[in-house]
Symmetry: C2
Amino acid sequence: MSTTQTGDTGIADVDATGPAGGMGPPKTARGQKTREALLRAAEKVFGEKGYYAASISEITQEAKVAMGTFYLYFKDKEDIFRALVGHMLELVRAHLRKHVAAAETQMEAERLGLKAFLSFVSRHKNLYRIVLDSYSVDETIYSSYFQVFAELYSRRLTRAEEQGEIVPGDAEVRAWCLIGISNFLGMRYARWKRPPSMEKVVDTAFDLIAHGLQPRQTR
Amino acid sequence: MSTTQTGDTGIADVDATGPAGGMGPPKTARGQKTREALLRAAEKVFGEKGYYAASISEITQEAKVAMGTFYLYFKDKEDIFRALVGHMLELVRAHLRKHVAAAETQMEAERLGLKAFLSFVSRHKNLYRIVLDSYSVDETIYSSYFQVFAELYSRRLTRAEEQGEIVPGDAEVRAWCLIGISNFLGMRYARWKRPPSMEKVVDTAFDLIAHGLQPRQTR
């Protein structure tokens, strides 16, 4: 557990590769498979028990891998946890890319992306526990997770503004607003308590993102 | 540390009084003062060291209170931590109430509220560490903290819609969107890395909340 105060520096250290962790990709296909099995097991064990209560032996049992094998891939519990946060980030990104690919404009991408994120979280409920626990393990794991999303999002918003698909405005600030919306909706409606209709949640949030709350006549 | 999965139930158990903790308000003014000194010390110690590294003795030293006195007010470390999350919630609410009081419309309240929240977080940087650590201590502390804000916010949005100050739409979904925006902007711009101008951050976010991203001609 780090006791470093992040203060004004934490986020500046972050690059776009995401939270560090693990010893890099294994060289063989079999090694790759074992590493993935360990990460899948880690998602389940950390997600269900939380970082502090989880143990390496539970992860190796879940993955059906010998304890000695674990240490070929990861240094310790914190190391596989860091790798897991990076792995979850890649899963979210891949899922979003796939579902947003069909969008022809940024506004369409906003709607599809929000819907896709909520469907991802509904199927990976442990995402929140993993990402939020990472804050207390080391704030920079948590900050770099969101920083990666914010950088990618900012670039997309900048391009969309250049193409006249959205009104002009600071892309970075907007990226953090939009990430905040997705994140809190996912926590509330996909993790904590399912709504009667997820489609209506998406519609309401999208309407806010597209048109805002102010009555049209007073604009 | 709780290992309970929140699943679909966590949020339903939450009432609007906030995260539980502490043995209720002391009966004397002196008792009240001692309890407040302990909570102020807890804000500093938990905020700087994190929940897991912090100890009761550091809190009593910081508060200049005898160890025995601590136990007149709180059962243990988790108990004062729960009380602290509730205390922070009340500090945020009081700060927002004060700064939003002058608003004549909901849209004005949105701008003033966002600005006030960012100024609060700039002065209470430890808020994030305390609230986010609460997730790994017990997810219901964290969920009830946000649930209280969401309920209050929903009520205000419902009233504003009735008075024609905002366009019609699901108040609860919007409340979670708006809380997500404030929360992520505060984390990014007040805790992690200060922007050249906080006023511009508020302007950009407010413009998104008021008018959305979609170009006016295509509405």
